[in-house]
Assembly symmetry: C2
Homo-oligomer: 117 residues x 2
């Protein structure tokens, strides 16, 4: 047999949360959307098909709290608000790219398997 599993394998993780909070429906997609630079609220609404403004606000606020995103409001007219990845948020891009690649390669497989069952 293989070595026994370390009982403390996940000791460093917050038990109450996923290993990393990239699994909720929107965070991953938002990071991808902000990859190329700052984006405005309504600009983000469109590609995230079906997200409601309420949920987008909540997601962005959560990412702001985690230091992944900065919100910048300009006192212009019409008002302009921009969201951008922080340097910390940018560190997520590389590992997420690996996930995106995997998804691109295997999503169809997954969909087939699910449809078949």
């Amino acid at each position: 047999m293989t070595r026994p599993l370390d009982p403390d394998l996940f000791a460093a993780c917050d038990d109450a949360r996923p290993m990393i909070r990239i699994g909720d429906k929107w965070t991953t997609k938002l990071v991808v959307c902000l990859r190329d630079g700052p984006r405005r609220f309504n600009e983000l609404l469109r590609p995230l098909r079906g997200i409601t403004p309420k949920v987008l606000t909540e997601s962005l606020r959560a990412m702001e709290r985690d230091g992944l995103v900065v919100r910048t409001a300009y006192a212009e007219n019409p008002p302009r608000v921009e969201y951008a990845l922080t340097p910390f948020g940018r560190t997520l891009l590389e590992p997420l790219a690996a996930i995106c690649t995997w998804t691109a390669q295997h999503q169809s497989t997954l969909n087939e398997v699910r449809a078949a069952s």
Copy 2:
């Protein structure tokens, strides 16, 4: 400004689901647990601190449906059941390793930020 966001950026994704279903609380951890070879039910219970047998069963069944995991029952005494990653499941290891590395490097940062707010 940067190029406009492609409105169909996520057209290939199932709108009703996260980009990839690795974000629920346990799937990522389970893949890591199965990295080194097949594991038994009770062996998985321990490092996943606090998971209940019910939730472990549900998670494993979901991963089985998705073709990530195989369940093998041996007609022995005491009964033995082993869970192992399929070749398809193994393809997840590489991108997940990137996420694990990120988590290891930045979890403390994240915890500090969260504690401060």
